[in-house]
Amino acid sequence: MYPSPFTYHRPASVEAAVALLAEFGDDAAPYAGGTELLLAMKMGFAQYDHLIDLKRLPTLRTIANEGEFLSIGALATHAEIAADPTVRDLLPPLAALCGEVANPRVRSSGTIGGNLCFAEPRADPPALLAGLDATLILRSTSGERAVPAASFITGALETVRAADELLVRIDILLSERRVRYERIVFGHRTVAGAVAALGAPGQPERIWVGGVATCPAPLPLTQSLLDAEPGAADARLHDAVTQDIAALDIADDEEASADYRRHLAATVALRAIAGCREELQR
């Protein structure tokens, strides 16, 4: 299988990349790791007249501790994030997740930005970043805008990113919250993932699930219960999680029935909460 022919662009700067996106719009795709893009093009699901190679823009891969937040360039690969001392120190669950998604080849080419922009419903980082109150910075020729990770993905393979926008970085709020991400994998992809970010005074509790519906979703009843009663008994937590997950739009698919996936989603959500609570008690 070959990707259909395209014109290849290798911009020398982020400004030049954004200018190409402004010129070609829908007819162009940024080429990051290519682990999803080339697959989709080979299979004929996607076709673009222009590919804009981002791989040679080192400023897009910077990872930095900015004090209030951890800033991760969109082009940072899973492997780079997993190995980065700053991420390992400030956000171990993100480093750990990036070190175990997919396989070593996909981790060494695939980028965090490509993962978010592709918006595959089974992806892990979208839910984790939403639960961490991360902000995505999108850039076009008219400037930058910030979009909360919580509202970036709107459906399967759909985001609020306009065709002329480049995701340049992800800013993750650093907080005292304990963070846990739990997932269950069948074969090569996640069937249910959940993040809990809990226990920072004055900050709302966050529980999100991913990999179950078409896009990541918060568990609002569970969050309110934990906001009101951080020590809520397990039985009440179980009820709240079950009710929240029952309200999600989850379909049967070839991997799991909707009921089974609901069960898995509740399981990972409860595990993530229990993991955070254990850490808080230490």
């Binding site: 080429y31 396989n103 070593p104 996909v106 060494s108």
Partner: protein, 155 residues
């Protein structure tokens, strides 16, 4: 902007140049233009690992990488490791442990192990198993492959 692309790279130790169409995949470039057939195409979706090659010592699935990506890079395929008169230690370990039968997956496994040992010269047993999770073998049942890698790390 380019309709065809000029590449300068190092392939198995030799400096090379080539001109490719932008939609050329690395696997086709290696197998067809360079006539290096040790790199195998199988699943075509980055799961099986048979097409693994090293680009600047990183493992990549050549089935889902553009040839454009090797411009300026150092590429190693199985042909770049040892030959009959002097095997690479990883090849020798596979031979010594009967870590192959039909051999189709072997180039990918060996390059995958090279990448692991380059990044992490002393992986734990769990790290070896996790790393090789990304390569499929339908003959050996994996134990012999893992034993071969273990023999390099904990002789």
């Amino acid at each position: 902007m380019t309709a065809s692309l000029d590449l300068t790279f190092t392939l198995n130790g030799d400096a090379k140049t080539a001109r490719v169409a932008p939609n050329t995949l690395l696997i086709d470039f290696l197998r067809e233009a360079c006539q290096l057939r040790g790199t195998k195409r199988s699943c075509d979706m980055q799961i099986c690992g048979a097409c693994t090659v090293l680009v600047d010592d990183r493992p990549v699935s050549s089935c889902t990488t553009l040839a454009a990506d090797i411009d300026g890079a150092v590429v190693t395929t199985i042909e770049g490791l040892g030959g009959p008169d002097g095997l690479d230690p990883v090849q020798q370990a596979f031979l010594d442990h009967n870590a192959l039968q039909c051999g189709f997956c072997t180039p990918g496994f060996i390059l995958s192990v090279k990448a692991l040992l380059h990044a992490n010269p002393a992986p734990s047993h769990e790290e070896i198993v996790e790393h090789l999770n990304g390569n499929l073998c339908r003959c050996t049942g994996y134990h012999k492959i893992i034993d071969a890698v273990e023999s390099l790390v904990r002789p």
